[in-house]
């Protein structure tokens, strides 16, 4: 493999692995704030107990998010130095802001949230939970601003020494692409959080354990799930897709596998792109839907890949096609499952309907796949550009770092992250297996500890 490919795999692998954690912690942070709010409003300690249980799962995932996140910031410089040199004056800004505005906030209040419940008042503890949530969502915003500038560069100018600089701070922050992508991405994080919470709820109900915790988790998970799954498709996904069709039409053509420009273009639900033959094998297609989705009329002409020069086509077309279809297919399944669950919840039958509880239990890995596939769609769709229409990916990597060196550190990360994966599964499984503790149990446990210490 050549150095460029290895640098790309290096970043893609460490990024994909890293994002397994933030997508859950960002989603869970919101749900934990909801639980803390319900505890404050109802005075029911069950909600506090639930929040405490999810905080433990949050803490493990947050730690893994932190330790796998640090390499991301370093890798811009180590593996993509030419890209960093040229664009540091633009994207360095949101990246530095993430550290200054979000990481300080999170690191300060996470400890208070996790360990300070006894020392803080109920309102102050709610505040700590809220600030952790705010920190994680602010962090997500700055990362999306960075990526959005690479997808759709705005508010920049080229200086004589070949580097870019920001011309308008608000222009950079208000990049329409960033806000559409942020909305779509954060809905995705809530989908992950909701599915994980619902899944644990379904587990406890099917296992007939954990008292009413299973029902609390399922109720909140399904409610947040149905809202986020619907918002994921409409309006966020729809608007993002339309904006993309306007600004990255080649990416849309690649995602949809549309090789030839067509009036009343069909949407391909399934199939295998054959790039050499420029066609889709075994297609299952619905006529005219693509034209309608993009332009709102079935007669509109949609540009296919043939409308663009070959050197601007996304470089790994089949992967782009599959990523997009996996994302969209799973997104449809999520909305359907959550809608059925919501209906049953409303009718009061969800907790006893095993044929729905089972799919909820087993579906928790799928949002991780869908979120990953969504990001792959965005990033592969941007190819062959690193910064759309400004810097090609093949111009951005560190020319001084040989393929062998890059492979060495890639293998190192593969090994390191294998260990992390095992620890992660072990720790989260243990927490779920142990289950939430009610306040009464914790209180006896505590007196026991005190008695032992004082003895």
């Amino acid at each position: 493999m050549d150095a460029l490919t290895l640098h790309r795999i290096h970043f893609a692998f460490t990024m994909t692995f890293h994002y397994l954690f933030p997508q859950l912690t960002m989603g869970l942070a919101l749900l934990i704030v909801v639980l803390k709010t319900m505890a404050l409003r109802t005075g029911n300690d069950r909600y506090n107990d639930s929040a405490r249980f999810w905080a433990r799962i949050f803490a493990v995932n947050f730690l893994l998010g932190v330790v796998t996140g640090i390499p991301m910031e370093f890798q811009f410089g180590t593996n993509w130095s030419e890209f960093s040199r040229r664009t540091g004056g633009v994207i360095g800004e949101p990246l530095a802001m993430e550290g200054v505005f979000s990481f300080f906030l999170e690191s300060a209040f996470l400890g208070l949230f996790l360990f300070g419940e006894k020392r803080l008042s109920r309102f102050a503890h709610w505040g700590a939970a809220f600030l952790v949530f705010a920190g994680s969502w602010i962090s997500g915003f700055f990362i999306i601003v960075t990526d959005a500038w690479m997808q759709h560069p705005v508010a920049y100018r080229l200086l004589p020494n070949g580097v870019y600089e920001v011309t308008s701070f608000w222009g950079l922050m208000m990049n329409p692409w960033a806000w559409l992508q942020y909305a779509h991405n954060m809905c995705g994080a809530v989908v992950t959080g909701s599915f994980v919470m619902s899944s644990v709820g379904a587990l406890y109900i099917l296992q007939k354990r954990g008292g009413d915790f299973g029902r609390i988790f399922l109720r909140l998970g399904v409610t947040a799930g149905v809202l986020s799954c619907v918002a994921q498709i409409f309006p966020t996904g729809d608007l993002h897709g339309k904006y993309m069709a306007k600004n990255q039409p080649i990416a849309i053509a690649g995602m949809e596998g549309l090789f030839h420009s067509e009036k009343g273009a069909p949407i391909v639900l399934m199939g295998q792109p054959d790039v050499e033959g420029q066609r889709i094998d075994n297609p299952i297609a619905v006529n005219k839907v693509l034209s309608f989705l993009i332009y709102g009329t079935t007669a509109a002409e949609v540009n296919g890949l043939d409308a663009y020069p070959r050197d601007q086509w996304p470089s790994t077309l089949p992967l782009l096609f599959y990523s997009y279809h996996i994302m969209a297919g799973l997104g449809t399944y999520f909305a359907a499952l959550m809608a059925v669950a919501m209906f049953l919840l409303w009718r009061g039958k969800l907790y006893t309907t095993r044929w729905v509880l089972w799919p909820i239990l087993l579906s928790f890995p799928l949002p991780y796949i869908a979120n990953t596939a969504g990001w792959m769609t965005a990033e592969i769709g941007r190819q062959p550009w690193l910064v759309y229409n400004l810097i090609r990916t093949s111009d951005g990597y560190s020319k001084h770092i040989g393929a062998g060196t890059s492979l060495f550190s890639l293998l190192g990360f593969l090994g390191m992250y294998t260990v992390l994966s095992i620890l992660w599964i072990l720790l989260v499984y243990n927490i779920i297996d142990e289950g939430p503790k009610s306040t009464a149990e914790t209180a006896t446990g505590k007196t026991l500890v005190n008695a032992l210490v004082n003895a």
Binding site: G99, S409, L420
Partner: protein, 348 residues
């Protein structure tokens, strides 16, 4: 403007050295000064609520370096590729070790995490010292401003250096000693009981070694890069830094004799800051010196971002820093006082 950003980045890295420095130091020392399980937990609890926030200074400082001096970020991060990858792996291991220890009840696994924490903390201290020494000594920058340094060549400074040579190894060992002392003084300040007593003994033994290493470092630096005295001749205010170093060493000794725990820890913080200032003052306006006279160094003039980027950056940076300092005050205030030697249950 560029000069201002030079000192901002230097200041953030100094904050990192002082803050994360003490928890690195605790990591290096605690397997030796904390003998029982209770004492080890006590030592971990003394850094538990703050280590993550301390490490954020590295991330925020790195990010600020990225946007203020993109060329320096691009050139040095890719040029020091191998050691940086190792630093990343060590940071991962260290974070896991300190946080996951409490998740495992079995003494066997706890001793594994103790070992990992010691290993990662020591090597990180050495790497950071080595990194600073590399920056002071200079690197073989090419015509395109890039370079690539192997981990070692012939262990000599000169036209073909490696990341490790006699000078940078001294830098690494010095950081190991200085951060161990810093960590020991932090433990004296934050703990009580036997752990505190042993930390005090450790600090007393480390101090003379730190002083000797500091004295040796001056001729070593002049040998490794004769140019580093240039700024001191030009601008005598730079001599404040070496005087600060000497003064803070004396003040650590006096504070320890007078049993002023806070005084000793603060003096050690001043020592670290003065050492970094001394290095920065020797470099300015160079950011990364070239070892070959024919090639241009990376300076604040050729590495700095565009004017608008810097102006806008100053606005949000000021606001962000005020907030960050406020959070730190809240956390350190809530965490004031000594960490008891008896296992206390946290909120849950």
């Amino acid at each position: 403007m560029a000069t201002l950003w030079f000192w901002i980045v230097a200041g953030m890295l100094a904050a990192y050295a002082v803050l994360d420095g003490f928890d690195l130091g605790v990591g290096i020392l605690y397997p030796f000064v904390a003998r029982t399980e209770d004492e080890r937990q006590q030592a971990i609890r003394a850094i538990g609520p703050v280590w993550d926030g301390n490490e954020v200074w590295l991330i925020a400082g790195g990010g600020t370096l990225f946007f203020a001096f993109p060329l320096l970020y691009a050139s040095s991060f890719s040029g020091f590729y191998m050691p940086l990858m190792i630093v990343l792996w060590l940071l991962i291991l260290r974070g896991l070790a300190v946080e996951l220890r409490m998740h495992f009840a079995d003494p066997l696994w706890r001793s594994l995490f103790d070992g990992l924490f010691l290993f990662a903390s020591s090597l990180l201290a050495i790497f950071f010292g080595t990194a600073l020494a590399n920056v002071v000594r200079g690197v073989p920058i090419g015509p395109d401003h890039y370079f690539y340094l192997p981990l070692w060549t012939n262990w000599r400074t000169g036209p073909n250096p490696g990341i490790l040579d006699w000078y940078t190894v001294i830098g690494g060992l010095m950081a190991l000693l200085a951060l161990s002392l810093h960590g020991a003084l932090y433990l004296v300040l934050k703990t009580e009981g036997d752990l505190r007593l042993r930390s005090q003994v450790a600090a007393g033994r480390l101090l003379p070694f730190v002083a000797i290493a500091t004295v040796l470092a001056i001729p070593a630096t002049v040998l490794a890069r004769p140019d580093s005295l240039h700024n001191y001749h030009e601008n005598p205010t730079a001599f404040l830094a070496p005087f600060g170093v000497a003064g803070s060493l004396v003040s650590i000794a006096i504070a320890m004799r007078k049993k002023s725990e806070l005084g000793a820890f603060l003096s050690s913080s001043v020592y670290l800051i003065a050492m970094l200032c001394g290095a920065a003052a020797g470099l300015y306006p160079v950011l990364l010196p070239s070892t070959s006279p024919a090639m241009a160094s990376i300076t604040i003039a050729n590495a700095v971002s565009g004017p608008h980027t810097l102006r806008v950056g100053l606005a949000w940076w000021t606001i962000g820093m005020m907030l960050a300092i406020m959070y730190f005050c809240v956390v350190y205030w809530l965490f004031r006082g000594k960490v008891s030697q008896y296992a206390q249950t946290y909120g849950h």
